[in-house]
Symmetry: C2
Subunit: 675 residues, 2 copies
């Protein structure tokens, strides 16, 4: 209905634009363009959710001159709202502000209307909001004997008229409560309408008397070791609390396969583990709610990710089939259930969405990390590695994405390492070795100074140094290689015992002693072998995917997972965990799986994006690939027997490649310190 002389309106950050007749409310213009502007009250000026900023100035690129004169003056509705609530200067309510001329409008992504909720630990990523749950305020007609529609039916009619929801389905738990809620609100109520998918039917999942101007969601990554949760407002993008807890399934088995074995050996094993993880999640919900000052009944939507075995156990599915070939998932697609159906205690109408799993060993967590890192949105070839007991590997760009898992085993998590431990206070997490003296210096979780700095001894008297965690193992072995203590084939050079007492015979092999005190912490030849096996498995998987993509080099690398957060990309590359890449383009991205879950929580469009992406991802089963074994053997070397590492060489002077597997000569070479 617009014509060329109508004002031009540009919405940021989406960049969507259109012409609208003068007098059109900005909220209406946003809706017509598909720009998501929240509104609970449906334009009555009472919820304050639809705030916008008008930009002033000439926007030559867009051919728009935007001015405060191009929008209607501050309305009585806005004045009233500002008086009662907190409306920042310059902010307008888009339901009340009318277009009078060309405008550039900024849709702020963090509209705070409830000052009491404290913002905490937010992921700073901007997520355009389009949640699956909408809060819809309506004023319902009172009963009329001449038109004896039921109370619920009149409510549905208003949700159709005011909010466009047709064929609304109603949760059974609301049937007994509709009448009292309508009367309590004096026929003014706020309906929570869930619709995951625009083509699906909307569902009435909760109903509140009067204006209910808040609703929350949780995004949760169920790791084998740790469960991480964010509590976010569904009406702004604020994360109001984040928390983590140990996965209590650990008592049934440290790693995934031992948990599958537990299920196979115990008749009620599956049930026990499902109960344990759901209880832990319920407790964690309690914690984030307490931290955020939120009533758990106000949580209406949840998104979960996890590796296939965590995913299955969480949903109450026996993971036995995942324990052996063909590693059949019970369900690979995204799953919708009600929270109450899986014993999660929130609102009776709360919905749960789990991201799709990519394959039997590449789970919904990898899907979340893929979404978060945007592997499938890149022009460049991007490698995303999520390292846990298995490494989940995704490689691709906007054209084509491939994925696999590699059986790294638990060495990277500190298991199978003689002095290994989980990342916890007392664990060595950073190591440097002087190549001249072979003396180490290290940093310990819970102790601020390095081991050679003042104050370390005092601190270490309180926080006892107990072992070495995953990132520490990577660093110490990489430093041992750079210092010439081990050869590129991973042999600890016994001849160095003559130069340093740090090198110590240990039967027929040699160890490197990091701490000679109590406890004694040394890296044995077996430890080096364990890391070599793990890194070779990972690298061979990456190499297979590079073959599938027909590339010799990757452009970007994201290291995800708790392990990935603390690892120094340079050392990962020195060891040859990851292929050569510009070090500036290698990022440790932390819990990318959880970040992907949060994206899906705040914008259901991401659910469709990852579902479609996963359906297109080409899955590689490393066990079926004939080349895997060869790549694995070649990748036992550091950084790798066959691949050049030119980017790494710009940052680190690598020892020259030896012709034999005897690393005896390596120690004498000159090198720059890698620090």
């Amino acid at each position: 209905m617009s014509n060329a002389s109508d004002p031009l309106v540009l919405f940021m950050p989406s960049g969507k634009r259109g012409r609208f007749a003068k007098g059109t409310a900005v909220l209406e213009a946003a809706r017509e363009l598909g720009v998501y502007v929240e509104s609970v009250c449906g334009g009555r000026g009472i919820c304050g959710r639809c705030q916008i900023d008008v930009q002033e100035g000439q926007f030559a690129k867009h051919g728009i001159t935007s001015s405060l004169d191009h929008i209607s003056p501050f309305s009585p509705k806005e004045a009233r709202y500002k008086q009662l609530r907190d409306l920042k200067d310059g902010r307008r309510l888009s339901c009340s502000a009318m277009i009078e001329g060309d405008l550039v409008i900024d849709v702020p992504q963090d509209v705070a209307v409830n000052a009491q909720v404290v913002r905490k630990a937010a992921d700073e990523r901007i997520i355009e909001r389009n949640p699956a749950v909408h809060m819809c305020y309506v004023e319902v007609d009172e009963p009329d004997m001449e038109k004896p529609l039921g109370d619920l039916d009149r409510l549905k009619a208003m949700l159709h008229r005011d909010w466009g929801f047709e064929n609304l389905e109603v949760d059974a738990h609301l049937l007994p409560r509709v009448q009292s809620i309508l009367r309590k609100g004096e026929w003014k109520v706020t309906a929570a309408v869930w619709r995951d998918d625009e083509a699906g039917r909307p569902h009435l999942i909760a109903l509140y008397p009067g204006l209910k101007n808040e609703a929350y969601g949780i995004a949760c990554d169920i790791g084998s070791t740790t469960i991480a949760m964010h509590l976010s407002s569904l009406l702004s993008n604020r994360t109001v609390a984040s928390a983590g807890a140990s996965n209590p399934q650990i008592r049934f088995g440290e790693d995934l396969m031992s948990r599958v074995s537990y299920v196979m050996m115990n008749p009620d094993g599956r049930e026990g583990m499902t109960k344990a993880v759901r209880e832990a999640i319920n407790e964690l919900i309690g914690k984030v709610c307490a931290d955020g000052g939120v009533d758990r009944a106000d949580i209406l939507d949840c998104v979960f990710v996890g590796n296939p075995i965590m995913h299955h156990l969480f949903l109450g599915i026996d993971p036995t089939e995942l324990g052996g070939a063909p590693f059949a998932l019970a369900v690979s697609g995204a799953v919708h259930v009600k929270a109450s159906e899986i014993d999660l205690v929130m609102n009776a109408g709360t919905r749960v969405y789990t991201l799709p799993c990519i394959a039997g060993h590449v789970g919904a967590d990898a899907a979340g990390a893929t979404l978060s890192e945007g592997v499938h949105r890149q022009d460049e070839m991007m490698l995303m590695v999520d390292i846990g007991t298995n490494a989940e590997i995704v490689l691709g760009n906007s054209t084509r994405t491939v994925a696999a898992s590699s059986p790294t085993g638990p060495a990277f998590e500190g298991a199978e390492i003689s002095c290994g431990q989980r990342a916890a206070p007392g664990a060595i997490e950073r190591v440097r070795i002087d190549p001249a003296t072979l003396e180490p210096r290290f940093r310990v979780i819970g102790i601020e100074p390095w081991s050679d700095e003042p104050g370390f001894e005092e601190a270490a008297a309180k926080v006892k140094v107990t072992g070495i965690c995953g990132s520490g193992i990577i660093e110490v072995i990489a430093e041992m290689f750079l210092a010439g203590i081990i050869s590129e084939d991973g042999v600890v050079d016994g001849s160095l015992a003559a130069r340093s007492t740090r090198i110590e015979a240990n039967g027929r092999t040699f160890s490197y002693v990091l701490q000679d005190g109590a406890p004694r912490i040394a890296i044995t030849q077996n430890d080096v072998r364990a890391i070599q096996l793990a890194k070779a498995a990972l690298y061979a998987g990456v190499k297979l995917l590079m073959d599938k993509q027909e590339v010799e080099k990757v452009d970007r690398i994201s290291l995800a997972g708790a392990f990935g957060t603390f690892i120094d990309p340079k050392y990962a590359m020195v060891l040859g965990l990851i292929p050569d890449c510009d070090l500036d383009k290698v990022k440790a991205v932390g819990n990318a799986a959880g970040a992907g879950a949060r994206m899906c929580l705040l914008n259901r469009g991401y659910r469709r994006e990852i579902e479609e992406t996963v359906s297109k991802i080409i899955k590689i089963e490393t066990a079926l690939e004939s080349k895997f074994q060869g790549y694995f053997v070649d990748a036992m070397a550091m950084p790798n027997k066959t691949d050049p590492f030119p980017e790494l060489s710009r940052a680190v002077t690598l020892p020259e490649k030896s012709q034999s597997s005897d690393g005896g000569e390596a120690g004498g070479r000159r090198r720059r310190r890698a620090r």
Copy 2:
């Protein structure tokens, strides 16, 4: 793709026809034409559900000569099926029988494939089947590491490919069971897919290993007094068992309003009554299952009707609002819930549908009766009266339908009548009075002979005559009127005491003595007044609806409900419960509400039909109509003060109308016996 030279195929009873290329399977032709032919195995020749009969002969009206030569010969698949199972001679499996020439095909509505199920008490009405639950046999691909789709996802792919179900939603309870069922069935399974509404998404609600060739549904009418249930196969139209039980809510109050009062007076009253009715329904399910030899877990769909208060209590909704103006229903539209959500014990996936309620006093039972009687499908003007504590009245035709309830009170059910009782052994249900002698003869429930026939005394020694039930009261008062004992205004003529000892003074009024023994059963002046009030209320409601329809006369009358089943339409008309009508067109139709529920169970198309019909029904609230009081007063007379009853006069000689309300002269008039 067909052309004019292709064979012409006509399906009966639907009358749908089309041309199909030679070699087309009859099942496929039926599907293309939208003729519902059941098939569980999807054309594999193993379920035997798709049986058809080929008609032989010239069908001049349709221009078709059908012959057994026009269909492919009996196939090996059919031969094998016939050998293993029961295939009647002449019957063909439509998946295996190919069109070779013009055909007239009969789709039998009762295909029996499980001989062990006994057919019982079936409603003989032909209902074209189109149930909401489909049993779909599929053969699922085995897991493939190279395409790691989940087991459920591969099942969904087959249900899409073979059965056309897209965007299938899966009940949460199946997630943990999919893998074991697929493996138990060796990748051959039968899926139960529920889709109430073609535009809605299909839901996987149950899954069985191998071929599951049976599924059941229940249709249930929750009356205030009696709960009636049918158990039917969803794969044929057989009703395999029917049963009834008392509504245990009676202990909280005999009539509806006393139950509402109970809820209002007792904090856990609603909960107690909901629990009572659900328990009774669960027991009744057990009974019909035992009678029909059916596992209750094989019941996958249910349809319920009931008056608004029964409907609300069943769904767990507080009916207090229905106890006073504006009589607001919590929900008037059709309701979908899972059986498990309302504590009904069947399959975890069983669905429940309740028909819409028409108004605060005109319930889902009236909607069911409307559907069953087809008020809205008539060319003629049809009156449907469902008599309980309230009379629910629907009047209309295909153009326009109106509905109301009339506050008849419980007199028709035997309450408020001095010797009244419920219809049970010992209750007088039929009465004749000799107009010459004023001597009565009657028939009693549980006693075969009439009271003046041989054998009555012996029988009455066993089954004691204890009172008079609703139909007996109607007859005795009508007969008293026809015999001149009461005037058209309902006054018992005391002067007749001189002629007969049956007329007896009772203070200032007179009674008519039916049984002088123990107990003494007499009809008092107050009893006559109670019936007059009840019938006047009913008639005034009917009259209002006739006004709304602008008709002087109705063409057809259906008397529904337990009371309607036993009432003699002639006496109902003599009393003036119903308006004048050709007696041949007045039918007692029994539990029409339950019949409507059964229609909705077996064909979801009827759900849409009644939903649409109810949304269009014009509701009349008698309390708001100024004319109601006048009609009510006029209708106190027998048959009625103002309306002519020409049709009734053809069957019965009515006493001449007196000018006064004193019926003293009436006794002397000549009349034919009404018998």
